[in-house]
C-alpha cells in the first residue's frame, strides 16, 4: 500500500471557522506536537482566553500580528496511515483572489467552508469559482457550525441544494458535501453522534479516499526539457541526457518521439533516474531521457509523440489573474514563463474582465487591477509549445514577470 500525497487548499475569513477546522484536523490526527500545543496554550492564556484556541496553531508571523493581517499562503502538513496531506492555507482578506489562485494552482482538492447559519455567501461563490477556474479536480463543501443550528438536517439539505444549483455553472465534476462542527469535532475526524441522519463519510475519510490517480494527464505525452546532462567524463564521454519532469502521458524506452519545436524525430533509448534504468515514466516523475539519435535539443524544447504534440503559436488566449499592486495597461511587455521556457510577451487585448461574484463579463476594460480575473490575448516573441489548461495544468499554465521589477505579476491559464 503506498501513501499518496494529497494537496488541498482552504480559504476563508476569520469567522467562518477555517483556522479552527485546520487546527482540528491537525489536532485530531495527532500531528500537533507538545511544544506547539504548549506555545498555543501560552498564547491563549496571554490573550486572556479560558480555553485553548486551536485556531492559534495556524497563527502567523510577527509582521502579520503587528498589522492584524495574514500575509499570504501558509503551508501545513499532516499525515494519516493512508495519506500525507499538504494544506495551502489562504486567508480571506483584500488579497484573497491572488492568494486563492496561488494556493489553488497546486491543489488536487479545495475545501469550501460554509457557515450553516449564513448559507451561501459572496465568498462561497468566489472560492468555488476560483477552484473551477484553476481546474481543481475535487471540491468538498463543509457545512460548518452545525452545532449552532441544532444539527438540523433540513438546514444542511437546503444549503446542499442551493450549492448544487449554483455549481452547475462551474466546471468541477467531483463535489462532495459534509455537515461538520470544526469546534466540536463532529464529522471532521470522528463520526458525529449528533447527526445520525447523515450517512456519508467524515471529512477526513473523504480526504483519505478521494480518487486522485487521474488528476494528472496520462494520455498526451509531454516532456519539457529542463536541463541537458553532459558529464564530460571518460566513462560517460558521449552521454547526453535530457533531464526534466514528465508533464503528461507515458514514456517508455523504444517509443518514437518528436522534438518540438525542431520537429526532429527519434526513439527513446533509455529513461534514467539516478543510477536506475526505468521501464516507463509518467507525470509527475523527474527523469533523464536519452535518445537514439544525436539531435540538437535544449532547455525549453518539448519531447512528445508523433501525431500528438502540443500546439505551437505566438498568439495566446488566456484567462489571467492580475496579482500586482500596480495596474496593467494594453501593450505592456513582460517575460512569460511557461514550462521550462521563457519568452517575451506583450498584452495585446483585454477581451473582458470577470466579476467573480456574479460571473458576469465586463467588456471594454483597458486596465487590470490587482485581483482582477480577465480573458486576454498575448503575443509572444517566439512560439509557445502549449496545451489548453483544461487538457493539462502543466503545459497550459504561465506566469508573467515584470521586466523592470522582476516580480511575478500574473498567473495565466491558456484557453
Amino acid at each position: 500500500m503506498t501513501n499518496q500525497l494529497l494537496r488541498f487548499t482552504t480559504a476563508g475569513s476569520v469567522d467562518d471557522g477555517k483556522s479552527t477546522l485546520i487546527g482540528r484536523l491537525l489536532y485530531d490526527s495527532k500531528s500537533i506536537f507538545e511544544d506547539q500545543l504548549e506555545a498555543v496554550e501560552a498564547s491563549s492564556a496571554k490573550k486572556g482566553f479560558d480555553y485553548v484556541d486551536l485556531s492559534l496553531l495556524t497563527d502567523g508571523l510577527k509582521s502579520e500580528r503587528e498589522q492584524g493581517i495574514t500575509i499570504d499562503v501558509a503551508y501545513r502538513y499532516f499525515a494519516t496511515p493512508k495519506r500525507k496531506f499538504i494544506i495551502a492555507d489562504t486567508p480571506g482578506h483584500i488579497q484573497y483572489t491572488r492568494n486563492m489562485v496561488t494556493g489553488a494552482s497546486t491543489a488536487n482538492l479545495a475545501l469550501i467552508l460554509i457557515d450553516a447559519r449564513k448559507g451561501l455567501v459572496e465568498q462561497t461563490f468566489r472560492h468555488s469559482f476560483i477552484a473551477s477556474l484553476l481546474k481543481i479536480p475535487h471540491i468538498i463543501v463543509c457545512v460548518n457550525k452545525m452545532d449552532l443550528v441544532d444539527y438540523d438536517e433540513a438546514v444542511y439539505e437546503k444549503i446542499v441544494e442551493e450549492y448544487k444549483g449554483f455549481s452547475s455553472r462551474l466546471e468541477v465534476s467531483d463535489i462532495q458535501f459534509v455537515p461538520i462542527s470544526a469546534l466540536a469535532g463532529d464529522n471532521v475526524v470522528n463520526r458525529s453522534e449528533n447527526m445520525t441522519w447523515y450517512e456519508g463519510a467524515t471529512l477526513l475519510h473523504m480526504l483519505e479516499s478521494v480518487h486522485i490517480e487521474s488528476d494528472h494527464n496520462h494520455i498526451d505525452s509531454r516532456f519539457p526539457v529542463q536541463y541537458v546532462v553532459r558529464p564530460h567524463s571518460k566513462e560517460y564521454h558521449d552521454f547526453r541526457g535530457y533531464a526534466g519532469r514528465v508533464a503528461g502521458g507515458i514514456f517508455r524506452p523504444g517509443d518514437d518521439v518528436v522534438v518540438m519545436p525542431s520537429g526532429f524525430s527519434s526513439k527513446i533509448k533509455t529513461i534514467e533516474f539516478g543510477n536506475e534504468k526505468l521501464e516507463e515514466a509518467f507525470a509527475p516523475m523527474s527523469v533523464t531521457i536519452t535518445l537514439e539519435d544525436e539531435i540538437d535539443i535544449s532547455r525549453g524544447d518539448i519531447i512528445a509523440k508523433p501525431n500528438n504534440h502540443p500546439k505551437a503559436d505566438q498568439d495566446i488566449d488566456l484567462m489571467i489573474c492580475w496579482m500586482n499592486q500596480r495596474p496593467v495597461n494594453l501593450n505592456t511587455k513582460f517575460y512569460l514563463r511557461h514550462t521550462t521556457r521563457e519568452v517575451k510577451a506583450v498584452l495585446k487585448e483585454i477581451q473582458y474582465k470577470l466579476d467573480i461574484n456574479s460571473l458576469e463579463k465586463l467588456d471594454n476594460a483597458e486596465q487590470l487591477q490587482m485581483n482582477d480575473i480577465a480573458r486576454i490575448k498575448l503575443r509572444t516573441a517566439q512560439p509557445l509549445l502549449f496545451d489548453s489548461y483544461r487538457k493539462n495544468r502543466i503545459t497550459g499554465s504561465v506566469i508573467l514577470v515584470d521586466e523592470g521589477t522582476n516580480e511575478t505579476v500574473a498567473a495565466g491559464m491558456i484557453v
Partner: protein
C-alpha cells in the same frame, strides 16, 4: 499515525491506468529534483548550503540523483562555526569525497577575528546568530546567486510561509510581506545585480518524510543521530553535550547518558534526547511516537516567540 512505519512500495511498471501514481515519498523526491535542476538552469553560480544535518544530507543526495551520471554542478558550502560536533566534520569530509564535489568553507572564527562578528557572552552564548554574517560574506565573496538549503516548512511558523525560490535583497534580507507569488511549478529566479536567492527544494517534506526517505534510499548519516553514550549536562531541561565551548555553571556536574541527536546544530546549543534508537527503523518509530518537534531541542529557537522570523529577515538560512 501508528502505521507511519509502513514502508513505501516502489512503483512497479504499471499494468493498468490506476497504477500511474507515485507514493508521497517518490512525489516529494521528484518535486525536489525538479527544483534543484531548475536552480542550475536559472542561475549562473548556485551553491548548496551544507550543515552536516540530515536535511542537507538528503539535499546533497537528491542533487547527485538529479544530475547523474554527471557530477553535481555546484559546490557544497559549509558555514563553519568552529563549534561543530567532530562527527559532523568527519561526515562532511567523507561526503565531499564520495560526491567528488567542491567544498567551500565560510569560517565564523575568521569573521570574529576580522571584527565582522562579535562573540556572544554569557551561559547560553552561541555562534548561531553570527553565522548570518559569515554566510552573507561567503555568498558575496564567491558571487553565489542562489544558495540552496534544506529548510522545511513544517519546522517553524516563519518557514511555513517561505517560498521554494526565496528572493533576498542586496543585503541578504528576507521580506515576508513582499514575497513573489509562486504558482504551479513555474519558478521565478529573476533578480537585479547584487541580489540573490535562497532555494528550498525540500520545503514540502516533514521530519518524518526525511527519515522515511533516508530509510528507503539507505542513505548513510552521521553517527550522532544514532543512540550512543555521551557525557552530558542537563540545563533548563535540555541535555547538552560537554565540549570545550560549553561553560559549566558551578553546580553543573557532567554525567554519562545514552542519547542521540534529532538535529545537528552547533555543539553547545543542540540538545540531545535520551534514546536507545540505534537503527533507522528505531529512529522512525521514535519520531512517530514523539510528542515534541525536533526544534524543541534547539536553544536558538527558544530565545523568543519570533526568534526564527527575526533571524530569517536579517539573512539567516
Amino acid at each position: 499515525m501508528q502505521d507511519k512505519l509502513n514502508q513505501d512500495v516502489t512503483i512497479e511498471p504499471g499494468v493498468e491506468m490506476s497504477q500511474y501514481y507515485l507514493s508521497h515519498l517518490k512525489e516529494l523526491e521528484s518535486e525536489a529534483i525538479y527544483v534543484i535542476r531548475e536552480v542550475v538552469a536559472q542561475f549562473e553560480n548556485p551553491a548548496l548550503l551544507f550543515s552536516g544535518g540530515k536535511d542537507s544530507i538528503v539535499l546533497a543526495y537528491l542533487s547527485r540523483k538529479a544530475f547523474h551520471p554527471a557530477k553535481i554542478p555546484f559546490p557544497l558550502v559549509h558555514i563553519d562555526t568552529g563549534h561543530n560536533f567532530p562527527e559532523t566534520m568527519e561526515y562532511r569530509d567523507w561526503l565531499v569525497n564520495e560526491l567528488g564535489v567542491r567544498l567551500v568553507v565560510g569560517s565564523v572564527q575568521e569573521s570574529i577575528d576580522k571584527g565582522r562578528a562579535k562573540e556572544e557572552t554569557g551561559w547560553n552564548a552561541s555562534r548561531n546568530a553570527l553565522q548570518t554574517v559569515t554566510l552573507l560574506d561567503t555568498i558575496e565573496k564567491n558571487k553565489f546567486d542562489a544558495a540552496m538549503g534544506g529548510a522545511r516548512r513544517d519546522e517553524e511558523k516563519a518557514r511555513a510561509k517561505e517560498r521554494f525560490f526565496s528572493h533576498r535583497d542586496e543585503f541578504g534580507q528576507w521580506d515576508p510581506k513582499n514575497q513573489r507569488p509562486e504558482l504551479w511549478n513555474l519558478f521565478n529566479g529573476k533578480k537585479h545585480q547584487g541580489e540573490h536567492f535562497r532555494v528550498f527544494p525540500i520545503s514540502n517534506w516533514t521530519e518524518m518524510d526525511v527519515w522515511q526517505y533516508i530509510h528507503m534510499e539507505n542513505i548513510p548519516i552521521p553517527k550522532l543521530y544514532y543512540s550512543h553514550e555521551r557525557e552530558v549536562i542537563v540545563r533548563d531541561g535540555a541535555i547538552l553535550s560537554t565540549s570545550p565551548w560549553l561553560k559549566l555553571k558551578p553546580d553543573e556536574v557532567p554525567t554519562k547518558k545514552i542519547v542521540r541527536f534529532r538535529t545537528c546544530g552547533d555543539m553547545p546549543i543542540t540538545g540531545a534526547v535520551e534514546s536507545d534508537a540505534d537503527t533507522i527503523e528505531k529512529i522512525i518509530a521514535e519520531v512517530a511516537a514523539s510528542r515534541k518537534t525536533e526544534r524543541g531541542t534547539r536553544a536558538d529557537d527558544k530565545r523568543s516567540e519570533t526568534a526564527m522570523e527575526d533571524r530569517k529577515k536579517s539573512g539567516y538560512f
